[in-house]
C-alpha cells in the first residue's frame, strides 16, 4: 500500500513538472473574431537590445511574413510612420489606448501590433557562441483598445551539439525567420 502511494506521488510530481514545462506563452481572447481583421498596422518595435536597427530588421521580417500569409493586409512601414505623425502618437513603440483608437481612425485599420525585441545577438557560454533572438508581440484591437492576442518566442542559442562539437549556431536571419514563423503559427492556431 505504501509502495502504491509512493508510485502515485511520483507520477503526480512528474505530471506537474511536465505541465509546468508546457506552460503556454500565448494569450488569445476567444471572444475576438480574428477573421474579421482585414487591415493591420505593425508599429515600430521597442528595442531592448544593444543592436541598433535590429528592431527594424525584425519588424520588416515579421511584416513580410504576415503579409505572405495572405490573411490580412499589412500597412507599409512608411504609411505607419505617416499615421503616427497624423494621429499625434508620442511614443509609437508604446501607444496608449486612446492613441491607438485615433491611429486606427486615421489609417483605417482594425488592429495594431506592438512588439518588444528582448534579445538580438550573440550569447556566450564557455567557449561556445551562438545567436539568439527573443521577441514578444501584442495584438491590440483598435475599437476597444484592448489586447486580444499576445505571444512571445525565443529561438537560437547554444545547443548541446554546439557545446560538444563547437560551431556558432544558426545565422541571425534564419533565427529571425524561425521566430517569425513561430509567432505566426501562434497567431493563426
Amino acid at each position: 500500500m505504501n509502495d502504491k502511494r509512493k508510485v502515485l506521488s511520483a507520477l503526480f510530481a512528474a505530471l506537474l513538472c511536465f505541465t509546468s514545462g508546457c506552460a503556454s506563452t500565448v494569450f488569445k481572447n476567444h471572444d475576438m473574431d480574428f477573421g474579421a481583421l482585414q487591415n493591420i498596422a505593425v508599429m515600430p518595435f521597442q528595442n531592448l537590445t544593444g543592436e541598433e536597427a535590429s528592431a527594424e530588421r525584425v519588424r520588416d521580417a515579421f511584416m513580410g511574413g504576415l503579409l505572405a500569409t495572405g490573411a490580412m493586409y499589412v500597412i507599409p512601414a512608411g504609411e505607419v510612420n505617416r499615421g503616427v505623425g497624423r494621429s499625434g502618437m508620442r511614443v509609437p513603440t508604446e501607444p496608449t489606448s486612446e492613441e491607438i483608437k485615433k491611429f486606427g481612425e486615421v489609417m483605417q485599420v482594425e488592429a495594431v501590433i506592438t512588439g518588444v525585441l528582448r534579445e538580438y545577438g550573440q550569447i556566450r557560454s564557455g567557449s561556445s557562441v551562438a545567436n539568439v533572438l527573443s521577441l514578444s508581440l501584442q495584438l491590440i484591437e483598435v475599437e476597444t483598445g484592448k489586447v486580444v492576442w499576445s505571444a512571445s518566442s525565443t529561438k537560437g542559442g547554444i545547443s548541446v551539439t554546439d557545446r560538444l562539437f563547437g560551431g556558432g549556431g544558426q545565422p541571425m536571419n534564419r533565427i529571425t525567420e524561425d521566430v517569425v514563423d513561430d509567432l505566426l503559427d501562434k497567431l493563426f492556431q
Binding site: P44, A53, E56, R57, D60, A61, M63, G64, G65, L67, A68, G70, Y73, V74, P76, A77, G78, E79, V80, N81, R82, P171, N173, E177
Partner: protein
Amino acid sequence: MLALAGCFCLVGCGWLAGDKGELSSTLEVQAVRPEIKSLVLLPVQNWSGFKAPLTQVEQVMQGRLQAMGFTVLDEKRREECMRRQRIRDTSGVGRKAALAFKTETGVQAIMVTCLETYQEANPPKLTLHARLVTAEKMPRILWAESVGLDGNQHPGLLGLGLIKDQNILIDKAVNSLALSLAAWLDAEKNRHQGQDWRREEEQEGWRLPGFGRQSRYLPRTSFRSKNMEAPGRFTVAVIPFLNVSSRKYAEQILAVHLVNKLLRYDNITVLEPGVVREEMLKGRALMPAGPSLEVADLFFKREELGVDLILSGEVFDYQDVIGLPKVDFSLQAFDKKSRETVWYSRSFNTAEAGEGFFDVGRIYTAHGLTVRMAHGAMAMMLQ
C-alpha cells in the same frame, strides 16, 4: 603526379563558375556604327565611400567609347553646361539636365557611370555601373550594365591569375562594359532578326523553372497580391531604398541594380533614376521609415510620367569591402490601380553559402550576390 596535376587544375578552375558573367575574357571590342553618334560622359559618381581614381576611370571610359566610334563631348563644354545648369549629382539624369545637354551641346545621349566599390589592394576590388540615357525632354534608359571584379576572382594555376594591380582591374571592368554596350548596339541594329543583347545566363534564367541551381538567390519570403496584374506593358519607377545598413549609398546601389534587371524585360519601361530623384526633390519627399503611398502618389499623379508600379524597399546589409560579401534587403511594390502593396519579398545571402569544392561557385563580390538576388526577386515578381 597525375593526381597532383589534377589538384592544380581544380585550384585553377575557379573561373568555371561563380562570377563567370562578370568578367569578360575577350578584351577586344569591335567598332560599331551606332545610331547614337555623340554623347556626353558624366563625371564618375563615387558610391564606394573611399577615395578612388575617378579621373582615371573616366579617362579609360572615354578612350573606350571613342574607340567604339562615339564622339564624346569634351570636358570643357561639359563642365560649362553642368555649371550653367547647376548639375552636381552625376548618378542620374534629370529632365532639365537631359534637355540642356541636348540644346546646348547637341549630344544625343548621356553616359552615366557610378563606382560602387573600390579597394586599391589586398586584393584590389572594383565595381562599376554604367547607363546610357537619351538626351531629350523625357530621358529614356537605352542600355545599362554593371561589372564587379575582385583580384582574387580567377586565381588560376599556382595563383598566376591573381590580379594585384588595380589599373588592370579598371581596364577589365571598362572593357566588360564596352563589350556589353557593343552587344546592345549590335542587337539594336539587327532588332528585326530578334537578336538579343542580354547575357546567356540572363536569357536562360529569365523564367523561374530554369533558375535551377541559382534557386538559393530567390527571395526567402515573398507575397504577391491578387491585385497584381498579369505582366503587360507597364512603367516602373524604382525609388531609393531606406538604408538601415551601415554601408553608405546602399540605398542607391540597390535601386540601380533593380533598374538594370528591369531594363532587360521587353514589356517594362523603367524611369531613369535621375528623373525619380528630380521628382522626389520637387515633391520634397522624405522617407524616414521606408516607402509609403504618399511618395508613390507623387509619381502616380504625374500623368506625363506614366508610372504604373513603384518599387522600393529597405537595405539591411550591404557588406562589400570588409569581410565576406553579405547582402540583405526587402522589396515592396505599390500598384497605381489598387494603391496597395502588391509585392513584398525579403532576400538575403552571404558569399560563403555557395562555396563548393576548391571555391567553385564562389561569389567574390557583394555586386555578384546582388545581381543574382535582384534577378531572382524580379523573376519571381514578374513571372
